[in-house]
């Protein structure tokens, strides 16, 4: 049976390096995904992910467990992403492959999925990436934390230091913008327009 985050944190605070590395292995993918979706660059997202864990390790003694360890990590990662966006002084980019490699795509297909379905899914994914990159940072962050990381409204509000209603407003506004963008980008191609 694997240890909980709290147990691993306690052991790490006692100097157990293996326990901290178990936390790294457990959370590196979600943190990387958060960074990638926020800033849009694979290489930079990896750097942010690595820096997040380094900062967490250095500040571990000061972590008193007032929030979940994962929330604490998310907050560090989001701050680093904000720094990146300010440093680069630009909107996040939507990284998309130049062309669609059908062989590579086929290897990702589930048995019930045809290659046409897969290409369509890939196209929608790219359209989503572009639309997300165009969103204001606060709306994008709220959507990422809710949709991809399953945080509660309250957790997001705590993390972003804003009222609960603000989180909901940002989500509503962000989803509304995405709806229009996706209608424009994918509506004709897929023959489907969101109602």
């Amino acid at each position: 049976m694997s240890s909980t985050d709290e147990e691993l944190v306690a052991r790490s605070q006692g100097g157990d390096m293996d326990s901290f590395n178990q936390l790294v292995m457990r959370w590196e993918r979600p943190i990387y995904a958060l960074a990638y979706r926020t800033i849009g660059r694979e290489e930079d997202a990896r750097d942010v992910c690595q820096e997040t864990f380094l900062r967490a390790f250095r500040a571990l003694k000061g972590f008193k467990g007032q929030a979940k360890f994962s929330s604490w990590l998310y907050r560090i990662a989001l701050n680093l992403c904000r720094d990146w966006i300010r440093r680069e002084r630009r909107q996040p980019v939507a990284q998309a492959p130049e062309g669609v490699d059908l062989i590579e795509l086929a290897s990702e297909a589930t048995p019930a999925e045809t290659i046409e379905d897969l290409v369509a899914r890939q196209e929608i994914g790219q359209a989503v990436a572009r639309a997300m990159a165009a969103l204001p940072e606060d709306q994008r962050t709220a959507i990422i934390l809710k949709e991809y990381h399953g945080l509660t409204f309250q957790e997001i509000a705590d993390m972003l230091d804003c009222p609960l209603s603000t989180v909901k407003t940002r989500l509503y506004q962000g989803l509304s913008v995405l709806r229009r963008q996706l209608d424009r980008n994918t509506g004709f191609k897929t023959g489907y327009k969101h109602v």
């Binding site: 694997s2 590196e28 990896r46 690595q50 589930t110 994914g125 407003t169 995405l178 994918t186 109602v195």
Partner: protein
């Protein structure tokens, strides 16, 4: 008045009890909110298609060597212990012991026209001696020169004494060698223990990592399944809408034909 906060809460299944019932009541009477809700569900399904590329992680946190309680994970490299076999150790110990014994006994060997001279003991300088003569040196310690070419009985006796002394010294050396071998064996056992411990730790880490990776794969598969289900539902919804539109068009066409035929 439509409450967008409630719409968002309902969308994420975060409305409970009376609030949920009230909002569902509102939905029944508000086409705008119904449409908006359906559209946002579609957007949520689309959002699931955006997956980050598979990362290639290779970093782990380790202490710096200069830090307090330094713990550096180093790759296994052969150390001097790897090639320091008991045989080599034995030879080295023997050389050391013989050198030490020779040094202690201050053995000097000279060769001249008269033959070999073996000299032992401590003295400032060896005086010239006659063949077969053995005499005391001037210092507190004695020096003995033995002309091997013409050994006298006394000289032979002294030589035998020295050989016996060297043999004793050699036996002591053997004891030292045994101690060295024992030490090497102990060191090897300790090393084996450390290696076994490291292997056990590594195995534990690999098991943990495997469990985490399997969990991740299961989560990914589940997320993909949910996304696919949503897409299927969307597809079915589109088909329903299309069929309904077509049926409506046919009804209209039938009505027109019937109306025309009645007029005729």
């Amino acid at each position: 008045m439509c409450n967008k906060d409630d719409l968002v809460s309902y969308l994420y299944d975060d409305l409970g009890g009376a609030a949920r019932a009230a909002f569902e009541g509102h939905l029944r009477g508000c086409a705008e909110c119904r449409d908006e809700l359906a559209a946002m569900k579609g957007v949520r399904a689309d959002l699931l298609t955006w997956a980050p590329p598979e990362p290639d992680f290779a970093f782990r946190i380790v202490h710096e060597p200069r830090a307090a309680q330094a713990t550096v994970l180093r790759p296994d490299v052969p150390s001097w212990r790897a090639w320091f076999t008991p045989a080599a150790g034995l030879a080295a110990a023997a050389v050391l012991v013989l050198a030490a014994a020779a040094g202690l006994a201050r053995v000097e060997i000279h060769r001249d026209a008269d033959g070999f001279t073996v000299r032992t003991g401590w003295s400032a300088a060896a005086p010239a001696i006659a063949d077969g003569e053995v005499r005391a040196g001037a210092g507190a310690t004695r020096a003995r020169d033995v002309r091997l070419s013409v050994p006298g009985p006394d000289a032979m006796s002294e030589l035998e004494t020295r050989v016996a002394a060297l043999e004793a010294a050699s036996r002591n050396g053997a004891n030292v060698r045994n101690a060295a071998m024992l030490s090497a064996r102990t060191s090897n056992e300790e090393m084996l223990k450390v290696v076994r411990d490291l292997l056990a730790q590594s195995e534990g880490r690999q098991k943990t990592e495997l469990a985490i990776r399997i969990g991740q794969v299961l989560r990914d598969v589940d997320a993909q399944r949910v996304a696919d289900l949503n897409r299927v539902q969307q597809g079915l919804g589109r088909m329903d809408a299309s069929i309904a539109t077509e049926a409506e068009a046919r009804r209209e066409l039938t009505n027109i034909i019937l109306t025309n035929s009645k007029q005729r």
